[in-house]
Amino acid sequence: MSTELCGLELEHPIVNASGTFDAIAALRTFGDEVLERFPFAAFVSKTITLKPRQGNPPPRLWETAGGLINSIGLPNKGLAGYLEHDLPVLARLPVPLIVNVMGFTREEVATLVAAVAERDEVAGLELNVSCPNVESGLIMGADPRETAALVHRVRPLTAKPLIVKLTPNATDPAAVAHAAQEAGADGVSLVNTLRGMALHPRTGAPWLGARTGGVSGPAIRAIALAQVAQVAERVSVPVVGMGGVETGAHAHALLRAGAAAVAVGTETFRDPRAGARIAAELADIGRDRRVSARL
């Protein structure tokens, strides 16, 4: 079941969702088995920002019905630290590397894209546009014009695949996706987490150190599927679908809804090789019945 995604040849359609698999920590925990039996067809790095970030104060996790709320807050070594320390290790992975970046201004994003794209180890880029633009105050990915302006700015900086990761906390994700496509994006990915909150069971104060967080996992699966279907109907570029995928059947549903590839996030926390399992289950489904036109 080999797949093409924005010009990248993938062995199967399952990749990891950004921020839900740290290949370097996995090497420390599982050793070289991670390289020998890598579960994903591409590796998407956790979001990197221009400057290093510690991330949000703990607690950062809350388990909800069939899901997880996290307020990790994008801890990362920053662009320079990533290029120096992480990239050489990630280059050992047996699959294409897609680097996810986020900036608080258009120029920050441009700096990130230019610096990352020029590295040979990098096969493609994902733009995380879920953050507020510190200049406009708007969420870069919730407003079609903001998104278009951002993609216009960075598109000329690289010929490598550029995927825009959409936020589900928007009135019309399909309009944002369409704007990204028109501005030159090679693909879109969705959904990111849905804004959520939980209170401390005893004190009643917000549980998460950052007050609110993002919901992922099975709880958002049906919402993700609806958004992926809506976006895929509206754009012609490939869509990477994600949100609550636990099984090959869930991945299959996203592909049926028009996705070209599927990312697995929270399920990896329950099963570190979920990606490979889901790819195998998907292949079985493909063998069982002819998959629809869009596949």
Binding site: R28, P58, T64, A65, G66, T268
Partner: protein, 258 residues
């Protein structure tokens, strides 16, 4: 190295027995093909069926547990029923499937030259100290709420007990017992509730006694994937699951309450 690498797969074991040890529950299960862990390492556990549908429709994610005992192909855990995950595990029936991931994290290190291990445990925190003591004999100072919980002290040797209510052993805090031993050339190995660990951290760092603390933290993955389990150190946040759970007391700013 105080870290055995984990097979890159969750394994399906079988629950063999669940029994009471005082106020706690001991869970025995098979661990087909699992390697030998090092004291202080832990596992992520989830039952294979009906993992969900408890309070607030949880549990959903696996839960972290130190191992109590290991023999080839077999693991023992000790649980305190505090929520839907531990409740479901405690109600497991022999023959049920159980998902195991591990051993995870970094365990305890050998004591520094010239120092003898002194084990300090509070409540369910005694668990990682039991296999540590088996590898590295030393006296254990153990504190519990009451006699019912203190029954778990039998899982270890060379124990000095205390309880909050005086119903068994010394009436008072385990840190009082520890205070009396800090002039000796010891290295402290501690695990227990945050307030106890924080007291141990303060006492030992003030007195210049090395201490290795096994921390807990809410975890989603257990293998460094989610960045959810961090605690602050003098060097910024570290992940308890890959950088710990055993951390040097002197590296911590404070043991976070949770």
């Amino acid at each position: 190295m105080n870290r055995t690498l984990a097979p890159f797969d969750r394994r399906r074991g079988e629950v063999e027995q669940v029994d009471r040890v005082g106020a706690y529950l001991r869970l025995l299960c098979s661990d087909p093909g699992g390697p030998a862990p090092r004291p202080g390492q832990f596992y992520m556990l989830a039952l294979a069926a009906e993992w969900g549908g408890g309070a607030d429709e949880r549990p959903y994610l696996p839960r972290a547990f130190s191992y109590l005992r290991h023999e080839p192909g077999r693991l023992e855990f000790l649980l305190e029923d505090v929520g839907p995950g531990t409740h479901r595990l405690g109600a497991a029936r022999p023959g049920e499937g159980i998902w195991l991931l591990g051993p995870l994290g970094a365990g305890f290190a050998a004591p520094r030259e010239g120092r003898a291990p002194l084990l300090v445990g509070g409540g369910i925190g005694i668990v990682p100290l039991a296999p540590l003591q088996a590898d590295m004999p030393g006296p254990a100072l153990l504190g519990f709420r009451d006699a019912a919980h203190a029954a778990a002290g039998e899982l270890m040797a060379d124990v000095t007990l205390c309880t909050d209510d005086g119903s068994a052993g010394h009436h008072g805090l385990v840190t009082e017992l520890l205070a009396a031993r800090l002039d000796e050339p010891v290295e402290v190995y501690a695990c227990g509730p945050p307030a106890m660990l924080e007291a141990v951290r303060l006492m030992t760092t003030q007195r210049g006694v090395p201490a290795q603390l096994a921390l807990e933290s809410g975890m989603a993955c257990g293998f460094g994937a989610c960045f959810g389990c961090v605690v602050p150190t003098r060097d910024g946040y570290v992940r308890v699951c890959v950088d710990g759970p055993v951390l040097e007391a002197s590296d911590l700013e404070a043991v976070p309450a949770h």
